[in-house]
């Protein structure tokens, strides 16, 4: 069955069961992936997946939900029945409705959908990449974590009010994590990830080069003294922090009491006037962009921080109704609808005169710690409390030299971090999770071994 036929099937089954109000979200995908180990195919994988999430409203307008991978006629009837039963437990205090924007036009950018290249081609490309990466430096002994994949999928949203949205897409991903070993030294590992619309769009050479350079640059390492340091966050590291604390902009989290913000936080000054942050799921560089969210609301660009102040929150249908605004296109379909950002864009605003522009990661000669990549986010971030303590890969710049930091964590408080931004470099870089320039922060605690 295609997505139109499934919609018709659900509509018929709902009529049969006398269910007047329903909606569903679905995804159908075909994925292919390979891994290699020293030139040999390690695991080759293909999967065909279908996931259907159905919501049903009962006569009291309470909603119930069921998720299934069985989209046969009997599976759909069972799912509708289960959702109907679950609606007896629907939340009376926060009712859910269809998004008022579920029929609005959506902006579908040129998806550049590619054709599958097939497992054999994936394998050949990954073998070649592994060889090149190992040959790039004598200390690189293996590439223990690697993978090349391509996915082809369709996402659908439809409801009993006549809304129907669907889009198809292809996506490819390559990751290479090398391991370098030198005598009497600890092994070092680092890597790179690249995304593209298809395998032919992947910049494989730059993935190899990035993985090699990063790994080699950490070969000569030293421990760092526990102290407070001037910090420069790489674009990737700063985006990791902002995403980890995105509950500050999340209306769902605010209502649930797990955000540092509250309903009245719009306009609150969080940072220097030089900081702007947007969520822009439709950005041309966002390979994973989706033109609508789980409730069918069109995706759009939303300003979260404007000149250092909170400008907007991310909303689903129900949070928007409670906040007396409109949904923003950030909902995930579920029994309790979730809200999350799509693609964060950080930039320097025009009000940037208070920045210390002499701080530039490529020219600054004073002492500072460069944080390249933050790790263990799920363990080291307490979003509801605002604190973090995270291991990182990075360098200590001192006396004109840079040396890789052996093992260390950076700890602090997100509000303190935002308030202590001292420079936002001009040039932005594209990462897999958004776009940001390098960001400088004064005085964060680093714990090291020395």
């Amino acid at each position: 069955m295609n997505s139109r036929e499934i919609t018709t099937q659900i509509s018929k089954a709902a009529d049969f069961l006398n269910l007047k109000k329903w909606d569903y979200g679905a995804s159908f995908s075909n994925d292919y992936s390979v891994q290699v180990d020293k030139g040999e195919a390690k695991q080759l994988k293909a999967s065909q997946k279908q996931i259907l999430t159905l919501r049903v409203w009962n006569e009291s307008n309470l909603v119930g939900i069921t998720t299934t991978s069985d989209i046969s006629e009997s599976g759909i009837i069972k799912a509708l029945n289960q959702a109907n039963i679950a609606s007896d437990f629907g939340n009376e205090n926060e009712k859910t409705e269809f998004s008022p924007l579920a029929k609005d036009p959506i902006e579908v950018k040129d998806s550049k959908k590619r054709n599958p290249v097939g497992i054999k081609k994936l394998l050949t490309l990954l073998r070649e990449a592994e060889v090149k990466l190992i040959e790039s430096h004598k200390s690189i002994k293996s590439v223990p974590y690697n993978g090349l994949s391509e996915s082809f999928y369709e996402r659908v949203y439809a409801n009993s009010d006549g809304a129907f949205r669907s889009y198809t897409k292809s996506q490819a991903a390559l990751y290479l994590y090398a391991r370098a070993e030198e005598k009497n030294k600890k092994p070092r590992s680092s890597g790179s990830v690249k995304l593209g619309n298809g395998v032919e769009d992947l910049d494989i050479e730059s993935c190899i080069k990035d993985a090699s350079n990063k790994t080699i640059s950490h070969l000569n390492y030293s421990s760092i003294k526990t102290d407070k340091y001037l910090i420069c966050f790489s674009p990737e590291a700063f985006l990791t922090i902002i995403n980890a604390f995105s509950s500050m902009f999340n209306a769902r989290s605010i209502l649930d009491g797990v955000s540092l913000s509250n309903k009245n936080s719009i306009g609150e000054k969080l940072s220097t006037e030089a900081l702007n942050i947007y969520d822009d799921g439709l950005h041309e560089k966002n390979i994973s962009s989706s033109p609508f969210d789980g409730e069918g609301t069109p995706t759009k660009k939303l300003c979260l921080i404007n000149k250092g102040r909170i400008e907007n929150f991310l909303h689903s249908e129900s949070t928007a109704r409670i906040f007396k605004t409109i949904p923003t296109g950030h909902a995930g379909l579920g029994s309790k609808v979730s809200v999350s950002p799509d693609w964060i864009v950080v930039e320097k605003s025009e009000k940037n005169s208070d920045l210390k522009t002499s701080l530039d990661h490529s020219t600054y000669e004073g002492e500072f710690v460069y944080i390249e990549e933050l790790n263990a986010i799920h363990a080291g971030v307490r979003a509801s409390q605002g604190s973090f303590s995270l291991p990182f890969d990075g360098w200590l710049y001192k006396n004109g030299k840079k040396i890789s930091i052996e093992a260390a964590t950076v700890a602090g408080d997100i509000k303190y971090l935002l308030k202590n931004i001292v420079n936002i470099e001009s040039s932005q870089e594209v990462t897999t999770s958004g776009i940001s320039p390098h960001i400088w922060v004064d005085e964060l605690s680093i714990t090291g071994d020395a």
């Binding site: 180990d37 040999e40 195919a41 390690k42 695991q43 080759l44 994988k45 293909a46 999967s47 065909q48 997946k49 279908q50 939900i65 069921t66 998720t67 299934t68 991978s69 069985d70 989209i71 289960q82 039963i85 679950a86 437990f89 939340n91 009376e92 205090n93 497992i119 054999k120 293996s142 223990p144 974590y145 994590y177 600890k186 070092r188 590992s189 526990t226 649930d256 009491g257 797990v258 579920g334 029994s335 309790k336 790790n375 263990a376 799920h378 363990a379 080291g380 307490r382 509801s384 409390q385 605002g386 303590s389 291991p391 093992a407 964590t409 700890a411 602090g412 605690s445 714990t447 071994d449």
Partner: protein, 474 residues
């Protein structure tokens, strides 16, 4: 005609599928596979969330699918599908054969048909009728969240429950033919406490396998008291000072560090990748002589226990480290094939869309002879980690774990609570520093995410003392 006599063109749970499974396996062998494995799954899951004094989410889900794995020499191809018809399964076999580029099928393996059906599900079919209803679950969760409302500093209260019922059929060309039903239930409580600028949180999770009545027996009042006290103790805590110091790790979930930092390095998948420092250390000392570590899948009711693993093998009790000496690795079929370490009944996967891999089950450090007080009294200046948060291990074996509830140790006594602590180290360096093990071994349930998805496990240990470790703080 009896249903078992119907020659079906689709896998049907509860019926005899032997002929169809044999036909599919034979098809793969005929095409040149060395080994064919079929894993078929049918799931029936529910979850319930209570927030404050209301049920805010009830989420049932069900599904079915198959994972087909073909080995040719040491390579394997894996295909997953939702199509359980004969046509769909054979297409998946063909796809896996094609992926492996098998063209020379002259050296054909022999498939002598499936063995007698080992049906582990016989006594478990009634479970689905014995688990608590959504009504019953909701009522108990609401009582639990109400119990958390002990003062006006409690900002949010949550109780969550989830139940996973998984029916599996596993068949492979070595004759393996088994069926099983697995039931996992888990319940969690958490709070956020707030007073002016101070914030803290507390959480606990409980879980069981194969015990439909367990949720009814869960002592929610004790759990609520525990979570409340933890959040209150930490509300006004100062940040810990960073540095090197001795620590005492509490029992139960304290074992997460051994699981993450050392247990994963003893899985044969790590040998395959060349990422474990213990690869050539069998029968060598890798830990302090006070440390004996075990991984098993047989403790009744424990969250990581199994009747049979996802490759059709009964789980064994594996002594990984005995008195500090490395004795065994955790192995699955691919691990045995590629590293030579015998299977341990540890081939596990999240669901049909993952190929099985060597994974831990119930993993713990065995109890020693000391009391908790002995450990604390032995430290003049250090940290007691009463409750651990999550953590991770990097590609070179370095770990990082958040301490959810910590207390300073001064002159052999517990003193003030501290927050923001992180334990940082490397298994190879820390294992020899575990110098004392308590006599109070307890297990705690958890979910472990790795190469074959998220699987249910237990971690555990008695109280242990680590002579020196890096504590991250401010």
């Amino acid at each position: 005609m009896l249903s078992s006599q119907i020659k079906s063109n689709e896998i049907v749970f509860g019926s005899c599928n032997k002929d169809l499974l044999e036909e599919i396996i034979f098809y793969g062998i005929e095409l040149g596979a060395d080994f064919v494995e079929i894993f078929i799954e049918n799931t029936d899951n529910s979850s319930v969330l209570a927030e404050e004094d209301f049920i805010t989410s009830v989420s049932p889900s069900f599904g079915r699918g198959a994972g087909i794995r073909i080995f040719k020499e040491k390579k394997d191809g894996f295909v997953s599908t939702n199509d359980l018809t004969k046509h769909g399964l054979m297409r998946s076999v063909s796809q896996a054969i094609e992926m492996l580029d098998i063209v020379d099928n002259k050296k054909r393996e022999v498939f002598n048909g499936l063995n007698n059906h080992r049906d582990y599900s016989l006594s478990k079919k009634k479970w689905i009728n014995e688990v608590p209803s959504i009504h019953e679950i909701s009522e108990k969760l609401l009582i639990s969240t109400k119990s958390l409302k002990k003062n006006n500093k409690i900002l949010t209260r949550k109780g969550s429950y989830s139940r996973n019922l998984q029916k599996v059929i596993i068949a492979s060309s070595d004759g393996t033919y088994v069926s099983d039903i697995r039931l996992h239930q888990t319940v969690g409580l958490n709070v956020i406490a707030c007073d002016a600028q101070y914030r803290s949180s507390g959480s606990r999770r409980f879980g069981s396998s194969g015990m439909p009545n367990e949720f009814r027996l869960w002592d929610h009042e004790k759990a609520a008291n525990d979570v409340f006290e933890s959040s209150m103790n930490m509300l006004y805590a100062d940040y810990v000072d960073a540095g090197q110091m001795p620590v005492v790790l509490a029992n139960k979930f304290g074992g997460v560090i051994f699981h993450e930092a050392c247990g994963h390095l003893l899985e044969t998948t790590q040998i395959e990748r060349g990422t474990t420092p213990f690869e050539n250390k069998l029968d060598e000392k890798i830990a302090h002589e006070s440390v004996t570590a075990i991984d098993e899948g047989i403790s009744e009711g424990s969250f990581g226990s199994l009747s049979v693993d996802d490759e059709g093998m009964e789980p064994e009790k594996s002594v990984l480290i005995k008195d500090g000496i490395l004795k065994k690795f955790i192995s699955d079929r691919a691990g045995e094939l590629r590293t030579g370490h015998k299977r341990t009944g540890s081939g596990r996967r999240q669901n049909y869309s993952f190929a099985a891999a060597s994974r831990m089950r119930n993993t713990y450090i065995a109890k020693g002879e000391h009391s908790k007080e002995d450990l604390i009294n032995s430290i003049s200046d250090g940290l007691y980690c009463k409750s651990m948060g999550g953590g991770s291990v990097g590609a070179t074996g370095q770990f990082n774990f958040a301490v959810e509830e910590g207390y300073l140790i001064k002159n052999g006594k517990l003193t003030s609570p501290v927050k923001g602590a992180t334990l940082i180290g490397e298994a190879k360096e820390v294992m020899p520093k575990i110098s004392m093990c308590g006599n109070d071994l307890e297990l705690a349930p958890g979910f472990c995410g790795s190469i074959s998805g998220s699987v249910n496990v237990t971690v555990g240990q008695p109280h242990i003392k680590v002579d020196s470790i890096t504590v991250g703080g401010r």
